[in-house]
Structure formats: C-alpha cells, structure tokens
Subunit: 343 residues, 2 copies
C-alpha cells in the first residue's frame, strides 16, 4: 500500500522522449493536435509507468473537478436514495462522477458540505436544503439544482413534485370515494413554506367543495414514526371521532403507516372505519395492513430532470432558470374505504 511517488507528466515526457506539453495534450483531451506517433509513445510511457493524472493540479489550473455532489437529507430513506441513484445515469453520461452527501437533516452537516462545495471541489450541486437559507446556496457560486418545490426559489433551477397537484390527487380521490370529513396531518419540518403548500391546498379544496375547515381535523406533527403514533392517539382521543372523521390525508407514508399500525392495534378497522391516504409510496406502503393507498412521487423522472437541468446550467450559466414539477400518481390499495355519501 505504498503511496505512489511522483509519477508526473514529467517522468512520462522523459520516457516518451517528448515535452511535458505534449503529454498534457494527450492526457487532457482538450489541447488538440498531437501526431499519432507522439501519441503512441506517450500512451506507451503512461502504461509503463502506471501514470494517473493528479487531479488537484489539473483542477487548480482548470477550475473543474468533474465531480458532482448530490445532497439528500436522509440516504436511508428509499425515496431519497432512489432519486440520488437516478441522477447518476444522466450525469455520468455527461462525463461527470456523482457522489452523494447525506445531511441527515442536520444543519451542521449541510454546512459542512456547503464548505466542500465552496472550496471548488464540485462542478455542480443537486440538493434538498434542510434550511430555508437559499442565499447560502447562491453564495456558493456553482451551478445548482434544487430538489423539492420552493415557492421562494425563483432564481434557482428546481425539480420536484408538484405538491399542490399531488395533494389534490389525494383529496380528489378521498372525495370521490365519498369521504366528506377529511382530516390532514402534516408538519413544518425545516421548510415551512413547502409544507404549508399542502395545508393551503387542503384549505382551497375544502372551500371549493363548500366545506368549512374544522380546526380539530388539522393535525400538526413530525413526519416520523413517532408522529404517526401521536396522530393515532390524537384521533382516538377526539370525542366521538367516528362521527367526526371519515379520512385522514397524511403528509407522508411514514406517518400514514405508523398510524395504520397504531389504529389497528387499538382495534380500529382502517379501510372501513376510517380511511388513510399517504404520500410518497415508500416500499413499506405495499406491506402495511391494510396496504396503504398513497400518491407516488415520480422519483425516476425527478432524478433524470435534475441531471438534465444541471448539465444545461453548467454548459450555459446564463440561461433562464427552469422549474420542473411532476404531479405524482395515485396508487390505490386498501386503506381507503368506499363510503356511501352522507350529510
């Protein structure tokens, strides 16, 4: 495991009997015109010495690293993992290598990665910000694509789910199945505006339908398993809840599933006594009892679009910013009941 010592362009040049400039022209495809003969000699010398280009030096000169950082808040969550994975294909086709940064919802970790980005280690960034500080992103001064809708991010390229549309899909479905007393369970985790989009859409939807918002049916919690347990408790402790709640629209699948489990444990028949709909379609959604009806986010499209936008931005930093939002699609399983219309 001896660290390779100083096999630089110069030793290669010496062995090949050419100048370092020529070697440089060969290894960096850019610099044009080298005679076939010289190129052959250089390649042979490279092979023989086991030379590999020092990227610190090259990057110092060119200010390019050919690496792209994809920052996600939770790599152990399959939703993010899959998005990260999907970006790879497009980016690698463009000649870049992709590395993933996991912030674990921690501002400190995020700042750490921002530091890496600022110091010129990456040619581009695809990220879901834990905080609301979009200026920090612009200040890094490198091409960036945001994952996840941000109303206020007008001058940064964005890719994500159209939360409004996705929320409507869920609510429309509940309504079509005859539910009228619809509750909402969501949070303010890290990014208030993003989540209030669900809440806002919920309000709009109800007023469209001529239903007043019932304060007791708006639950605020963390989008975690804990949150789901809490939600179940809150529901059960609501006096005469059976008469007050038909269905619950959950901010993500994690709480939806936790709620289903907790309610089932309390003897409630989810899917007939009460309906639950989630959002994301994580793998576990297919395995809950009853299986969760949810709105699937289009991870593949999202990842692909993020890669495209970033490549476009890199090759033309002056282009107008673009937003690509995908609506999501309904995955019908068993957690939503068919209810005869009342009231």
């Amino acid at each position: 495991m001896a660290r390779k010592q100083s096999i630089s362009i110069i030793e290669v040049a010496r062995l090949a009997g050419v100048s370092k400039s020529t070697v440089s022209r060969v290894v960096s495809d850019r610099g044009g015109s080298v005679s076939p003969k010289a190129e052959g000699l250089v390649n042979k010398a490279i092979e023989e010495l086991g030379y590999t280009r020092n990227h610190h030096a090259s990057g110092l000169r060119t200010q390019r690293s050919w690496m792209i950082l994809v920052m996600v808040p939770d790599i152990a969550n399959s939703f993010w993992a899959e998005i990260a994975r999907t970006t790879q294909d497009g980016l690698e086709a463009g000649g870049y290598s992709v590395v993933i940064g996991n912030t674990d919802w921690s501002e400190q970790r995020q700042e750490r990665y921002y530091g890496l980005a600022r110091s010129g280690r990456f040619d581009g960034l695809i990220l879901n910000s834990v905080t609301d500080d979009l200026d920090a992103i612009k200040d890094m001064g490198i091409p960036t694509v945001l994952l996840g809708e941000r109303v206020e991010a007008q001058d940064i390229d964005t890719v994500g789910t159209d939360t409004r549309a996705a929320t409507r899909i869920a609510l429309d479905f509940l309504w079509a199945r005859g539910h009228r007393r619809i509750a909402i369970a969501t949070n303010e985790h890290g990014s208030e505006r993003f989540l209030s989009l669900r809440r806002r859409t919920y309000g709009e939807f109800l007023s469209e339908k001529g239903v007043a918002v019932d304060r007791d049916l708006v639950f605020r919690l963390n989008l975690s398993e804990e949150g789901g347990k809490e939600l179940a408790k809150s529901i059960l402790s609501l006096p005469r809840w059976q008469e007050r709640i038909d269905a619950v629209f959950c901010g993500n699948d994690v709480i939806a599933i936790a709620t289903i489990d907790a309610l089932a444990a309390a003897g409630v028949a989810v899917g007939s006594d009460i309906s639950i709909i989630g959002m994301d379609d994580i793998p576990a959604a297919a395995h809950s009892r009853p299986a969760l009806t949810t709105v699937r986010k289009m991870r593949t499209l999202t990842g692909k679009a993020a890669a495209e936008l970033l490549l476009a931005r890199i090759s033309d930093p002056g282009r107008p910013t673009e937003k690509r939002l995908f609506p999501g699609e309904l995955v019908t399983r068993a957690s939503v009941a068919e209810r005869c219309i009342h009231t």
Copy 2:
C-alpha cells in the same frame, strides 16, 4: 451565480497588511505561531473578502483532500444506506467529510470511482467491491477498508458480518424449533467465495447433525424479488414438498419476503406448513405476513468499526491489518414454526 473571481490568500494578505505566509498559517491550522494581533487582522480580512480556501491548491501541496469515499453497491437498499450513514459520524469526528459512491452492482461504475480515488481525490476509501479483484484495490495506493467478509483479503482491513456465525444462528434456531429437513436458497452474485461461505456452513452444520445434504434442497438463485418468486415456484413444483421440506434458510430478506408472499398467494401457510428464515432484517421484514424471522446484521457496529479502522490506517499506514466481524442477532418473528420433532 457569478463564479467568485480570484479571492486568494494574496488579496487577504494585502488587505490585512501581512504576508501570504501568515495568512496561510492562519487558514491551515497546522503551521503554528501567529500573533493574536495578526490573526485578528487576517480573520477580519477573510470575513470582509468572503475568502474560502481553494482546495485544489491546498491538496496539490499537501496531498490531502480530507474527503473520504464510501462505495456501496446499492444505495437504495436500506442495509447499505444505513451502513454508509453510520460511517459518517466517526469519520466526521476525525475531521473528514464523507461522500457516498453508488456502484449499482456495475463494474463500470466501480471502475469510475476507482479512477477518482487513484487521482488523489480522497484520503481514504470504505468499499464493498462488486468484483473479486482485490489487487485493483491495493493498487489505488490509498488507505482502504473493505465492507463484507472476504476470505482471501488477508492484507486489507475488513469489517463485516461473520457469515459463518450468522448462518449458524439461523440454522441453530431452525434446528431448535424442531426442523430437520432444512433447505438453503442463495446465490453467487458477484462474489462467489463470500456466498459459498453460507453454503459451506450449511454443509458443515448438517454433517455435524448427521444429516446428508439433499441436492433438491439446495436452491441457487438471484438474491432479488425475482429470485424469491422463482424459489416459491421451485418449492411448490417439488413432488410432495410438504414431506420433504420443513424450513428454508434464505440468503437475504428480499428473497425471503418475496417467497413468503408467493407462497401465501398459493395458499401455503408460512409459519406452520413451512418455515422461512431470512438474513439482514430489512425494514420490510417486520411487515410481511407472516412477519419474517431473520438474522439482523449489525449495521451500526459495522459502520462504526469501518470508520475506526480507516482512521487508524490513515494515521498509521504501517499497522497490521485488522478484521472485525460481527455475528448478527436473531430477530424472532412469525415465519418460523414450532414443530414437534419427527424422523
């Protein structure tokens, strides 16, 4: 998004009224002795100019990047995701930043990351190799820790599950529950020796118990959902399978769960007609019907140990190689029956 122009150590020095050497001493904590007064001036100038250290230049000089690459074969698999995440804590405490590379079981992608590593971009590597080419790893010439047991990796630090021990835990449990006709379902994916360890332990176990290996009870397949479906089909098509198979030891949870689902769909009562035991304890294992009994791999310990070993190797490249293997722990759920002993 204008790319920051040339705010180098030199402009800082000029503004602070000191030499670039002094600035360097301040920004790189290494070079000792700077007067408090000078340090104050420098910091003020840094703040004012918004200077950030160019890491290409610094890396060129010091040959350090303070970045560590963790390579995993499938970031969308929660097992790998969690391991990758766990390494972070230890490594970041050591001052390093962690980025994750996802090979997606592709040799080409792996080679791409190897290339990055060879060009000096990382100070260390934690990886699970897709191929059996351990020489390629040594040739990179940087400190490396291998994830996953490799019999032949004698001179590389290794962290992983003690496959032998984990397999025995599963088999012992099946045996204790009265199963005697135990089948095994595993693969040769990418790393033959690793997996034959399960098969070998299976053979040893049976011969210890005085049971001959029944060729029909050794299933070879991919460790994927497809493989699981195939396995169910193979079992059901075995003439009089009820009399020939008590239990199946599955190479991982993914096939175990797929098998459970497929068998259940065919009307077989898993957990009484036949027992299934898995390995890994992925999240879905708790949600299958019946819930899967499995051997949990110790991800947290594994990630932590990998970080420790890598830091130790970096600080002392000459130290003897070390292997840390963890046995795994049984997670008892419902997919294994209690059987009265027969034969």
